[in-house]
């Protein structure tokens, strides 16, 4: 894979210019433009985005200018009144400000998740915001079931305050919000959150727990040993948390909690205290206090050290996704976990989230496609009016660039080589995708 500077070196060899006529910064800017266009026009790169329900926003603001200082997605719950000169919390304030008789208004929430407390009778639209590198939506689903697209106009035809109707989402729309926001109809107000990071927002994932069963598997053949051993959590809490700490490094608790409050080194001790019949007790084993004692017959102790490297399950798939950056390489530690279950999931095409520097890799595209970005840079360079302007060369590289776009579009459909295409009747009407048809003998479905 060619880094940006390598491709620009090739560009400069064709331009016969070391930066006098076309500066390096100019070439980098065109490279980023070409990279963004290659992805934006072909929609070749698609990613899965999951959003908890109700929508979550890190920042709520009152005025639009505050978005200049907000990092991440933001939400504006208040209403603009009086020629957008004031902000109102309730709709009746608009009536009062203009000297009219007020009518009762619904609740206002400053964060959409508050709907889980106040219900759906809220005057604001139920908006989800997509990441900044979002380009085009391919599919929206609620709890893994596809939502059909619908326009605001069609929803308005229902002559109903559709934006706060309670129920299971069946439709999605671009809604009335800002760019990269969508709304669903009907709306789910129950608070759902698939995963929650506890005890701090920084550092590494140390343990996973919940309604599912999680276990760690050591992936190295070399078993690291513990620095110390302890019998109860209270022992180690004292010795490690005191200042200065008595013990450094990682330890191992070689006992087990028993129901009567005691600790046992053997499994059968726990079973016996828990009331298991003596005939059913587990066989005893040699229990060491240090990992090296495995050489003398003690049980092997596995220490799950370091960051999580892989998540696997026989019941579901864990997909690594580099969020927001638009980069492919999923390095580093887990910063967030989402699930498609009981959430809104969106399959969308993306563009790069940030500009590349000369030392970066355009890794959202195949390495072999980078040459077409080079052609784009050459097209722009030769097509720029002024010194070095060469319309013939620009036109030719434009042809090469467009050829690359066409190829990338074909690549975007991985099954293009495995399908038989045939011309459809020209009078076929393209409508909304059909829903699953139940057979006539299916029991009556009541809503």
């Amino acid at each position: 894979m060619g880094k940006v500077y390598e491709e620009l070196n090739k560009v400069q060899s064709v331009l016969h210019d070391g930066g006098k006529i076309w500066t390096r910064d100019e070439l980098v800017d065109w490279f980023n433009d070409g990279y963004r266009r290659l992805l934006g026009q072909t929609h070749a790169v698609k990613r899965l985005v999951c959003m908890d329900v109700p929508p979550r926003f890190p920042v709520t603001m009152t005025y639009q200018w505050e978005t200049r200082y907000a990092y991440g997605s933001n939400y504006t719950p208040f209403f603009s009144i009086l020629n957008n000169d004031r902000k109102a919390t309730y709709q009746w304030e608009a009536e009062q400000a203009e000297g009219e008789t007020t009518t009762n208004s619904l609740s206002l929430v400053t964060h959409p998740w508050e709907r889980s407390f106040v219900g759906v009778d809220v005057d604001q639209h139920y908006q989800f915001v997509l990441p900044r590198n979002s380009e085009k939506i391919k599919r929206v689903a609620w709890d893994d079931e596809r939502l059909s697209p619908i326009t605001v106009r069609e929803l308005d035809e229902t002559r109903d305050n559709w934006f706060n109707r309670d129920g299971e989402p069946n439709w999605w729309t671009t809604g009335t919000g800002k760019n990269r926001t969508i709304e669903v109809f009907e709306i789910e107000s129950t608070y759902n959150q698939a995963y929650k990071f506890q005890n701090g927002l920084f550092g590494l994932t140390r343990n996973m727990s919940g309604s599912r069963t999680y276990s760690t598997v050591e992936v190295t053949t070399k078993h690291p040993s513990n620095f110390y051993a302890f019998t109860s959590t209270s022992d180690i809490d004292y010795f490690t948390n005191r200042t200065p700490s008595y013990y450094q490094g990682h330890g191992w608790r070689f006992t087990q909690d028993v129901s009567n409050g005691y600790h046992g080194t053997q499994v059968w001790e726990k079973e016996m205290q828990d009331g298991t019949d003596s005939a059913d007790l587990s066989t005893g084993a040699t229990v060491g206090t240090y990992g090296w004692e495995v050489n003398f017959g003690a049980q092997t102790v596995n220490f799950g050290l370091g960051p999580v490297r892989e998540l696997s399950s026989t019941a579901r798939q864990y997909l690594p996704v580099a969020e927001h950056t638009g980069e492919y390489f999923v390095n580093g530690t887990i910063r967030d976990m989402k699930s498609t279950a009981s959430s809104i999931s969106v399959i969308e095409s993306i563009v790069p989230g940030f500009n590349l520097g000369e030392g970066d890799l355009p890794d959202l595209v195949p390495a072999q496609m980078v040459k077409y970005i080079r052609y784009y840079v050459l097209m722009m360079a030769f097509g720029r009016t002024g010194e070095g302007y060469n319309p013939s060369m620009a036109e030719h590289y434009d042809f090469r660039w467009n050829r690359g776009l066409q190829f990338m579009e074909r690549l975007a459909n991985l099954t293009s080589r495995d399908r038989e295409y045939q011309r459809t009747h020209p009078s076929a009407v393209r409508g909304r995708p059909p829903r699953v048809q139940l057979p006539s003998t299916y029991p009556r479905v009541l809503f």
């Binding site: 698609k46 893994d144 596809r146 399950s313 798939q317 072999q368 991985l414 099954t415 699953v436």
Partner: protein, 211 residues
Amino acid sequence: MNRQEIRDRILRGLNESTSSPSLFTTAQVDAYIEDAQEILSEEVAAIKRELIVTKRSGTTYYNTRGLATDMMVPYRIWDVNNERKLEAKTLFELDSHNERWVDTTGDPWWWFPLSWDVFGIYPRPATGGGTLRIGYLAWPRTLLDDSDEPEFQNSDHDGLVLYGVYEGLLKQWDIARATQIFVKFVESWGDSSARHGARAMERRLMTRTNG
């Protein structure tokens, strides 16, 4: 032809010395040859490879970059244990077929695209085991040294020479002559494509389908 022979022909086509070219370095001409290989494989679909991947319980999606770094696009997925080809579908067709396709388990029958580098199979296996043979169109491997030969058939090698000459002329800003050479390169795609496709079989009954 090996890489050196192709390079020498390109330089002679540009009226350059093969031993000490004035306007080009060896690395530049080698890069032209690599680009030519890539473009030819993109336009002609000449290079096919196959790999085997294990079906894993709960796994729906596969990343092509994790399967093979030279994978351009799969053209065939064969379920070895069930002795059948997976049928290519779209997400649209999946959703129309089964609203809860995400949860459905069983032996896979279909495969569908998600992104240029991700595809999925449906249904997802309930238990691990068994393999899929994935046939794919590939980008060519990089030529390792001057004695290395391109994977294409010998009759395609002159196309690589044409492309190298074309790139050299572009570097000299001789757009008129470069365009003529490029047209010849493009014209060779049709023959090359047929050479790796239908014409590969000596005799075949071809009939015209209804328009």
